[in-house]
């Protein structure tokens, strides 16, 4: 803990990122406590106070049906972070395991895994996610599925490349020589040496997942109303720019803060852990 604080103090940008991420996470976790109008996260209509500019009652103003934007942003963070956690929790283990196998076992296994990975990588990520969402019903679960499907190949390729470098290292040969099994060599010897790069990429990716998910819902393919989502909030407000600027500027800033925060942390981690991604 002391060491972490020391590192943060020496890297002001990382510290800045950590503060931003902490703010975002707190906002999401404590949404019920902080939000002045928790009920506005759902389908509430208040036509008396619709489209109000920011004021002391409505910190970020209200949307077109009179819901408090600040409250909705807090709840939208919840969805974004949940998506980020789930997507990475599924995509990273899958991608890492495949990358380890492809890199270490070589032979037909390597060709199969890496060629499939190449196919996925050759399609622009957003397009792939859009086409999956276009076919499926746009729900939260399908959104996770679509983003996960485009996310694992990046980890496969990252880990594959590291493993190719590590497997000629002496310690891998030494493990084989004392009779370690392939599983042991892959997961207990090589994997720990890939962790710095994986952790760094995960932190960077957390921001990108939020961005992609927001892009999808900006296009109407993500989380559906009335569930609050940063991307759809920006999209709804975009039609009323520049007069009702608060409708899209605040959700947009919210995306910026989250993505920026995770990126700063990721960059800091890359320096601290000495990983190259």
């Amino acid at each position: 803990m002391k060491r972490i604080l020391h590192i943060l103090a020496a890297n002001p940008l990382t510290l800045c990122g950590a503060v931003l991420v902490l703010l975002v996470v707190m906002a999401a976790l404590l949404a019920d406590v902080i939000a002045p109008y928790p009920e506005h996260a759902g389908a509430v209509v208040d036509f008396v106070n619709f489209n109000k500019p920011p004021s002391s009652t409505y910190l970020f103003g209200t949307d077109l049906v009179g819901r408090d934007l600040f409250s909705r942003i807090l709840y939208a963070y919840r969805i974004s972070l949940l998506l980020g956690v789930v997507v990475l929790a599924v995509a990273v283990p899958v991608g890492v395991a495949l990358g380890l196998m492809a890199g270490y076992l070589s032979g037909w296994c390597e060709y199969l895994i890496m060629r499939v990975t190449d196919v996925f990588l050759s399609i622009p990520p957003l397009v792939l996610a859009m086409s999956i969402m276009g076919v499926l019903e746009p729900t939260l679960i399908n959104g996770m599925l679509a983003v996960t499907a485009m996310w694992w190949p990046w980890y496969t390729r990252l880990v594959y490349n590291i493993v190719r470098g590590e497997k000629v290292e002496g310690y891998v040969l030494a493990a084989e020589v004392i009779g370690a099994s392939r599983t042991h060599t892959m997961f207990r010897e090589i994997l720990p040496n890939c962790l710095p790069a994986i952790v760094t990429k995960m932190t960077l990716d957390f921001g990108f997942v939020i961005l992609i998910v927001s892009s999808l819902s900006f296009l109407g393919l993500g989380v559906q109303p009335p569930t609050p989502d940063l991307g759809s909030m920006v999209a709804d407000g975009a039609k009323y720019l520049p007069d009702s600027w608060w409708l899209s500027v605040f959700p947009g800033l919210a995306i910026l803060v989250a993505v920026f925060g995770f990126n700063l942390i990721g960059d800091g981690l890359r320096d601290i852990l000495g990983a190259d991604t």
Binding site: G170, A174, E176, V177, A180, R188
Partner: protein, 288 residues
Amino acid sequence: MSLLDIQDLRLSFNLWSGPVNVLHGISLRIGKGERVALVGESGSGKSVTARIVLGLLQEMRGAQISGRIGFDGTDLASLAPRDRRDLRGREMSMIFQDPTSSLNPVFRIGRQFHEVLRRGQPSIDAAAAREIAKKVLAEVSIEQPDRVLDNYAFQLSGGMNQRVMIAMALANRPKLLLADEPGTALDVTVQAQTLRLMHQLVSDHGTAVLFISHNLGVVREFADRTYVIYRGRIVESGPTAMVFENPAHAYTRALMAAQPRLTGGGLPEIADRDGAFSDPAFHHGVQA
């Protein structure tokens, strides 16, 4: 009876361009507790011989291996890959050129010792492993085994790592130790020191050693018998003293002449290839 008995070992790799012959019929024997050196220039087939003995190349596609390798009475070729793997780390182990890269950089030495000892005794717990580790580290003259066990490989010097590797390789009391140019990555004094330690340990434990090297000075001090290998063939073999004092084969003589001398005078002119290098093998005295 000999511990390791290799007869007419041939190895070729099938490449797209056709087969490449690497070993053309190697025969060598190591008795129990005997120290045998295999010397030769780079690319002569020293290291692949060791890998075949360990059973690592057999699992590689494209490697064609023929010949008999008897280890402690059993034919290695008759063993399933799984049984061959069981021999590694228990009955035979290996020491490499570069000790520092042979240790996993992300784990403490103590934990790696535990893994090694688990090969011998699968149920051993961390505390018991640590006790044994301390004992074997003391055997290789490491004075603060506790500190070393809590360190990572990069925190130790090359010489320390080498000693740790020797201790690990001998921890499960293997019958055969394959030393592939041990300590070539270290400086000469450290190398001499660790080799002396290794020499003493293998004599104490009665471990047989296949010592692979191109360093003739080291071989002369370390090995009971010496095999000289050239381009995949054994060209000369016999007790170390006889091979060194009375080299009979043209290649061995060239190899001896290529040794740098303390008295200076530069390196002699020796032809890279010479028809005489392909002469039939010469064996000194009786084969052990």
